[in-house]
């Protein structure tokens, strides 16, 4: 658990982060969104003390972060830096192995972990392990950066725009991989992004920042339904609101018994995808299939549309 209390950073006259307080429970993903220069990176880096706060405290599992030497604190916290920050003189494998090596893991365990992570991020270990970062594409570098942050299986992970340079397909894959990893290890994650879609998809809670202040910190559904300020509403995009709501729901939630014609949709697809399919194929109802391909019922367009209405 991370408890941030009245955290503030001043540069001379300028207050970059202004009395921000928020708590991230174990196994939650807190996503920080906001315009460029709103203080997201600064807030994130005060958590692992890359930046020393002017005032305020950060506690991790109840312990003040100032109670341990900064380098020890940072070895326990995974950090995927904005713009990857790979060590150019070290191979991909050595980069990923950085924290396990600092922690003194044995060689075999490190090698196994490196290969495991490379495979997880769709990078063939034999092909990529011994390359230098300069021999990778931007998106590959970024994935290696995330792999490095995950290498020592940290319970807490800080990520600064980790998927910024990825194409939509790899990005979606990286996001679902992250969710899978997060579920498996119960990792607590604080993630910064510019992309509202990503925030809603990944976040258990979303923190909206503007000019150093935390405007709202709430689950995605609430941020969409009840934005605290006009700025928050604008960030979500007023025209996007119904679709953002739909993207939070799953087809499974609205399945009913009954027949339907045509191409079926997966029960795990988002309501947004289901709605898009209804519109595109001109159908009122869609058959719904389970993960093993069995038809389990149908979903109605009207029911989906009702879910897109502003919650009361």
């Amino acid at each position: 658990m991370i408890e941030i209390d009245a955290l503030t950073k001043d540069y001379l006259e300028l207050t970059v982060v202004d009395h921000v307080s928020l708590t991230v429970a174990d196994g939650e993903i807190a996503v920080i969104v906001g315009t460029s220069g709103s203080g997201k990176t600064t807030l994130l880096r005060m958590i692992n003390r890359l930046i020393e706060p002017t005032s305020g405290t950060v506690k991790i599992d109840g312990q003040d972060t100032r109670a341990v030497p900064a380098f020890e604190l940072r070895r326990r916290i995974g950090y995927a830096i904005q713009g990857h920050g790979l060590f150019p003189h070290r191979t991909v494998g050595q980069n990923i192995a950085t924290v396990p090596t600092l922690l003194g893991w044995d060689k075999q365990k490190i090698a196994a972990r490196v290969d495991e992570l490379l495979s997880l991020f769709q990078l063939e270990p034999a092909e990529f392990r011994d390359r230098l970062p300069s021999e990778l594409s931007g998106g590959q570098q970024q994935r290696v950066g995330v792999a490095r942050a995950l290498a020592a299986e940290p319970r807490l992970l800080l990520m600064d725009e980790p998927f910024g340079a990825l194409d939509p397909i790899i990005r979606a894959k990286a996001q679902s991989d992250l969710l899978a990893i997060q579920k498996r290890f119960g990792t607590t994650i604080v993630l910064v992004t510019h992309d509202m879609e990503e925030a809603i998809h990944l976040g258990s809670r979303i923190a909206v920042m503007d000019k150093g202040k935390l405007l709202q910190y709430a689950p995605p559904a609430e941020i969409i339904a009840r934005p605290a300020t006009p700025f928050v509403a604008e960030l979500i995009g007023t025209g996007e609101r119904p679709f953002r709501l739909l993207s939070l729901g799953k087809v499974r939630d609205l399945v009913e018994p009954g027949p339907a014609q045509g191409e079926p949709i997966s029960a795990d697809a988002s309501l947004r995808d289901a709605y898009a399919e209804c519109l595109w194929s001109g159908r009122e109802v869609l058959p719904v299939i389970d993960a093993d391909g069995k038809i389990i019922g149908r979903i109605r367009r009207d029911d989906i549309a009702r879910r897109a209405e502003r919650p009361q």
Binding site: F71, Y79, V99, L102
Partner: protein, 249 residues
């Protein structure tokens, strides 16, 4: 093998052959002599002079590298940061000082012999290395140094594991400049009785023997070019190895 490399190897072979058996090249220098002057300098063996010349340069350069890199590390640490602007301007002023002047100033203090030459080479060699080490250590990509902190490296681990390896090619460029200046400047050391190849040139000047001047100058010049070349190649390899630039094919 590339033609450039072959040419370099041939030049190196010729240089070594000349240094080992200068007599067999007498016919080359004969046309430069007049009135039956000797074509080859024989007072001292050319090989001994060359070795002594290179030894002086090597000792001076190693000493200046250690001190210059050490200082650069100190002033780029947080506690030394106050001295950074001062040391930087000292380094800049120092480089405008001609090496001969340093030599002239060292003699009254240290007397004649190898010592003032070593000191002059050492002092003059400091400056390019220091300047380059500063550049190398202060222009590292910020995301990389931040990442080094972020993964939990200690100050020492960052310096030895990230900052120095990445700055090495730039530091090496400073060493290269310094060595080349020293190889040339060591020649002047003979005027204060150091045992260097300058001896051959000075003997030529005193006896008005152009052959001596040419062979002394040639050996020094060719050595300087070959060393410069070899260090440049090493730099390119290091740049590629540290992923800062791809190897040119």
């Amino acid at each position: 093998m590339k033609p450039g490399l072959i040419i370099r190897l041939v030049i190196l072979a010729l240089l070594v052959a000349f240094i080992v058996t200068p007599e067999s090249f007498a016919w080359v220098f004969q046309p430069l002599t007049k009135n039956g002057q000797p074509a080859i300098y024989t007072q001292n063996s050319l090989m001994n002079l060359t070795l002594s010349h290179l030894t002086i340069v090597a000792i001076a350069t190693i000493a200046s590298t250690l001190l210059a890199v050490g200082l650069a590390i100190l002033v780029t640490r947080p506690f030394g940061a106050e001295f950074l602007p001062l040391s930087r301007s000292l380094a800049n002023i120092g480089q405008t000082f001609p090496p001969v002047a340093v030599l002239a100033l060292a003699v009254p203090v240290l007397g004649f012999g190898t010592a003032p030459t070593l000191v002059a080479l050492f002092l003059y060699g400091l400056l390019p290395i220091f300047e380059n080490a500063l550049t190398g250590l202060t222009t590292l990509p910020p995301t990389v140094t931040e990442a080094a902190r972020g993964v939990g490296m200690t100050d020492r681990q960052r310096l030895l594991g990230v900052e120095l390896p990445l700055a090495t090619p730039v530091i090496l460029a400073g060493i290269r400049l310094s060595v080349v200046i020293s190889v040339a400047t060591a020649t002047i050391g003979s005027t204060v009785a150091a045992s260097t190849l300058g001896e051959v040139i000075i003997a030529g000047l005193l006896s008005n023997n152009i052959a001596f001047i040419a062979q002394g100058g040639l050996v020094v010049g060719v050595m300087a070019v070959l060393i410069y070349d070899a260090l440049s190649a090493l730099e390119r390899v290091l740049m590629a190895r540290t992923g800062q630039r791809r190897l040119q094919s």
